[in-house]
Structures are given as structure tokens and as C-alpha cells.
């Protein structure tokens, strides 16, 4: 099991409950979409997995690691094991594309020569090798998102989480991004993607679960996903 949530509740100060008693598991090598209206708890779920937040109650276990036991000091090391893709890319615009992609390797202390080789490989995988020297600002939204994906996979994580990765993209670009995700999944990466683009997900023929008000909406076809 790559991700396991056990009766997870997340309540924000003020009493608003983003997740209520959510139980869910994602197998290794799975590519799973989470859908639902905004405010349904999709982002909160990903934030709990990335340890940006901690659950009010319940357990989140990622690759055998109970996040409750990850001490504050150990959070950076924990996060380095997960690739993260964001709706707004979260690129740094004061440095070229290659430096953006290299950042996780720099943080991990990978030597310069090895790092530049891996950066090129990652950029090649998202089809942006020819733009490595450019500033991300000069890139289109779709290209920027692909830089964000290259950065997320450059450390070869086993788990990749993405929060509305196609949220700002038109259908063509969205499909391209999804195909890139699919290719990673084919080489064994587990993906958990929050998205509201149901038509695209169905077109890709991917598994999806739906959240509503912090709870799973039960559908027959995704039955396996929370068993």
C-alpha cells in the first residue's frame, strides 16, 4: 500500500471540517484521481499527505510511514520522498528552467555533474530539454506546468501528488500533461491527482474517487479504491 488513510478528520480552527472520517487507500503503482467540488477536501487530503498540515484525528500512512510520527524536524526529509505538482506551478522566476528543475537535487545534496545529467533527463521526459536555459516567465502556462512536473520527478520519487495540475490549462495542454503523468505511471510511479476535470479523466480511462464535504461519494466502479 502506498497511501493509507484511516478515519481521517481534519477540522480547521473555526469548526469547519474539511475531511470527516475519511478512510482510503492507494495501491503502489496506481494512478488515482480525486474529484469533487472545490471545498470538498481534495486539497486538504493532499496537504495531509505532504505534511503541510496534520490531521485532527485519524492516521495517514505513506509508504509504511505514519505521518503522525514524523517529527517537525524530519518533515523536509519526508517531503523529499514525494514529488509534488501544484496548480500554480510554484516555479522560481529568478533563475532559468534548469535551475528550477535542479532545486530538489541541490536540496538533496546531489553532486553537480550527476544533477545536471538528471535535470536534462527530466526535462527531456516532459519535452522541454530545448528550453532549459530560458527563464520560466518566457514559457507558456502549459510549459511552466511541465517544468513543475520535471522538478517533481527529477529525484525519481515513488509517489507523485498533484493538486489541480491542469487547472489553468486548456484541454489540449491538459491532455498532454495527463499523458506525461500516464508515462510515469507506466514505469511504476504511484500518482494521486486532485482534479475536477471529470471528462478528461474519463477520456484517459483512469480510476477516480469523488469527495463531497470531506467524505467519499460511493460509486460502484471505484469500489476497490477504499476497500
Amino acid at each position: 500500500m502506498m497511501i493509507q488513510l484511516d478515519d481521517v478528520t481534519k477540522r480547521y480552527p473555526g469548526g469547519q471540517e474539511a475531511l470527516s472520517g475519511l478512510t482510503l487507500s492507494v495501491d503502489k503503482g496506481e494512478m488515482l484521481f480525486i474529484t469533487g467540488h472545490s471545498g470538498a477536501g481534495k486539497s486538504t487530503l493532499l496537504r495531509l499527505i505532504a505534511l503541510i498540515e496534520r490531521p485532527t484525528s485519524g492516521q495517514v500512512i505513506v509508504d509504511g510511514q505514519n505521518t503522525r510520527r514524523v517529527k517537525r524536524r524530519k518533515i523536509p526529509a519526508y517531503r523529499r520522498q514525494i514529488g509534488m505538482v501544484f496548480q500554480d506551478h510554484k516555479l522560481l522566476y529568478d533563475r532559468p528552467v534548469s535551475d528550477n528543475v535542479a532545486l530538489p537535487l541541490v536540496i538533496a545534496g546531489v553532486g553537480h555533474r550527476d544533477a545536471s545529467r538528471r535535470v536534462r533527463a527530466a526535462l527531456d521526459q516532459v519535452g522541454l530539454l530545448h528550453k532549459e536555459k530560458q527563464n520560466p516567465e518566457t514559457l507558456s502556462a502549459g510549459e511552466q506546468q511541465r517544468v513543475g512536473i520535471a522538478r517533481a520527478i527529477v529525484t525519481r520519487p515513488k509517489l507523485l501528488i498533484a493538486d489541480e495540475p491542469t487547472g489553468n490549462l486548456d484541454p489540449d495542454l491538459s491532455l498532454e500533461v495527463m499523458r506525461i503523468f500516464r508515462r510515469f505511471n507506466e514505469v511504476g510511479v504511484t500518482l494521486l491527482i486532485a482534479s475536477h476535470d471529470i471528462s478528461l479523466i474519463d477520456r484517459m480511462g483512469c480510476l477516480r474517487i469523488e469527495l463531497d464535504a470531506g467524505k467519499l461519494v460511493e460509486h460502484e466502479e471505484e469500489d476497490h479504491a477504499w476497500q
Binding site: 523536509p76 510554484k90 538533496a108 553532486g111 550527476d114
Partner: protein
């Protein structure tokens, strides 16, 4: 655990060991921080200038005290001796003794204060004139004031003092050190005041650098958030800011050295003229290598402390949202 195995894949590879990786990381971070300062030359220069002036002021004052001390050290060898002669020695014997002593090579002049002169002076200065008139006998001895030649060393001064004390006519030999001691006490106090002032200025530098780094952190808040989000530790995000503090301190210290040296250069001519007028061999004492390194070191230390405070205080608060 699977995760641990996985993180090995990310870990450094082949030839370079963890130490050299750590070292290389610091080198590249330091160069990055330096580049950042250079890209904002005006803002960086202002801060460096403030630090330099703040360091240069106490350094220069300290140098003034050091020079004053060097000059006054020469005075130790030019102090007058007072030889109080025994009461049995007559005035004419005293005059003879004065001429005798004056012939010594290590003595420049001898001046006789007779007992009656001394009593007159005392009457005038003390205000006990009427009371002293009642005395039937002058209780004061004749006194020889001996000015040693300036060629004396502190060693030969001791010899001279002993020989004068061993004269059969001499009762007591006194060295007029009081005013030099007072002067030295004043210098000590000034030096102490400089240390206190310098400490306060040091606090000011820490605050200036801390505030600069704080603004820098605020400006780069987004970058810090993103790097933390993808797994950077507090130490990692802190590092470039510590290096900025280091560079500010180093350049500030370097410029302070330059300012002090330039000040010395400007004073060289007048000092030479002054020395010429006094026919003394006194030259301006410059900063020693140790002192120069200390200024640089203090600059760097204050830079690091300031940036560390700012980074420790503000970095923790910036967490990914």
C-alpha cells in the same frame, strides 16, 4: 523501510564524499549570496558603508589611545627626580653636590631648591603663612631636582635612581611619576570607554545586518516557501542568508580597515611635522596585523550573528501554506 531505500537513490553518488559535497554546497551558496549582493550594488554598498564606519570609529579611537600611550611611554624616561638632602647638609654643600651630579652623563640638569626657598613657596601656597612664622627652625631640607638625560632607558633610570639614593647626602629620592600615572589612568579610562562604546556599536551592527536580512527574507518569502515545500530544511534555507551576513561583515570590516589606513595616511604628514618640532623620534603607530585581522573577524562575526538572529527568528515562521 522502502522510503529509506528510495532516498538512497537521491543521495550523493560516486567520487565525492559527504564532506566535500557539504563543502561544495557552501561554496556555491556563498557565491550565490555574493552574486545577490553584487546585483544590488547600491543597497549593498550602503549597508557595507554603515558597517565600515561603525567599525572604523572605535578602531580609530583605539589607535589614538595606542599612539598616546606610545608617546607617553617615552616620558617615563624623562621624569624628574627629587633628592631630599639630609638636614645636616648645608646650602653650599648642596650647591657642590648639584654641580657634581650635573656632570654625570645620564643627567641633563640639576636644580637646587634651598630649604628657605621651599619654605617661602610653602608659606605662599599653603596659606599657613602665619602659623609657619611661629616656627623657630626651618623643618624643610634642601632639595635637588634632577632631570635625567632623554637618552636614558628605563633600566638606566633605575640605576640612576639607586645611585642617587646611595649618596651619603641624600635622605630620600622621589620620582615625579604622579602626573604620568594620572595620564595613564586617563588613557585606561578612555580605552575602557572605547570598549563600552564599541560594544554598543557592535550591537548596532548586529541590528543593522539583522534588519537587512529580515527584509531580504521577506522579499524572498515565496522562494523560501517553495523550497521548503519541496523538502528544504530550515538549515538549507537559512544558509544563503548566513552567507549574506558573512559577506556584509567581511566587506564592512575590510572597508573599515581601509578607512583607518586612509586616516593614518592623512595624519602621517602632520605627525612627522609635530615630531620634527619636538625633535622626537615618535612616529604614528599603525594597526598591527593582529588588529587588522581582528577588525575583519569582528565584522564577520557580527554579520553572522545578525543574520543568524534574523534567519532563526523569521525563517521558522515561513511555512508552506
Amino acid at each position: 523501510m522502502a522510503m529509506t531505500r528510495h532516498s538512497d537513490a537521491v543521495a550523493p553518488v560516486h567520487s565525492s564524499g559527504p564532506i566535500s559535497i557539504w563543502f561544495l554546497r557552501h561554496i556555491s551558496t556563498s557565491i550565490g549570496s555574493l552574486g545577490r549582493l553584487i546585483r544590488q550594488p547600491f543597497a549593498s554598498l550602503m549597508i557595507v558603508l554603515v558597517i565600515a564606519v561603525t567599525l572604523a570609529i572605535p578602531a580609530a579611537l583605539n589607535l589614538v589611545v595606542k599612539n598616546a600611550r606610545a608617546v607617553s611611554e617615552g616620558w617615563d624616561n624623562a621624569l624628574d627626580f627629587s633628592i631630599y638632602l639630609k638636614r645636616s647638609v648645608t646650602e653650599s654643600e648642596s650647591e657642590g653636590l648639584a654641580r657634581l651630579i650635573e656632570q654625570r652623563a645620564d643627567v641633563e640638569t640639576v636644580h637646587l631648591i634651598t630649604a628657605s626657598d621651599a619654605l617661602e613657596d610653602f608659606k605662599e601656597q599653603s596659606g599657613f603663612g602665619a602659623a609657619l612664622d611661629q616656627l623657630s627652625d626651618n623643618p624643610l631640607p634642601h632639595t635637588l631636582v634632577v632631570r635625567p638625560s632623554p637618552a636614558n632607558t628605563s633600566q638606566s633610570m633605575i640605576v640612576l635612581q639607586e645611585e642617587l639614593a646611595n649618596l651619603p647626602e641624600s635622605d630620600l629620592v622621589q620620582v615625579d611619576t604622579e602626573w604620568v600615572q594620572r595620564f595613564h589612568a586617563i588613557l585606561d579610562m578612555v580605552r575602557q570607554a572605547i570598549v563600552i562604546g564599541a560594544s554598543l556599536l557592535g550591537v548596532a551592527i548586529v541590528v543593522i545586518i539583522g534588519n537587512t536580512i529580515r527584509l531580504d527574507i521577506q522579499n524572498r518569502r515565496e522562494e523560501i516557501e517553495v523550497t521548503k515545500l519541496i523538502g528544504a530544511s530550515n538549515a538549507f534555507v537559512r544558509r544563503p542568508f548566513l552567507w549574506s551576513g558573512f559577506w556584509y561583515g567581511l566587506f564592512g570590516g575590510g572597508l573599515a580597515l581601509g578607512l583607518v589606513q586612509y586616516g593614518l595616511f592623512l595624519l602621517e604628514q602632520p605627525a612627522a611635522r609635530l615630531a620634527g618640532l619636538y625633535k622626537s623620534g615618535v612616529t604614528v603607530v599603525a594597526l598591527s596585523l593582529d588588529e587588522s585581522l581582528a577588525i575583519l573577524g569582528i565584522g564577520v562575526l557580527l554579520g553572522l550573528v545578525g543574520s543568524w538572529f534574523a534567519a532563526a527568528r523569521h525563517m521558522r515562521r515561513i511555512e508552506p501554506r
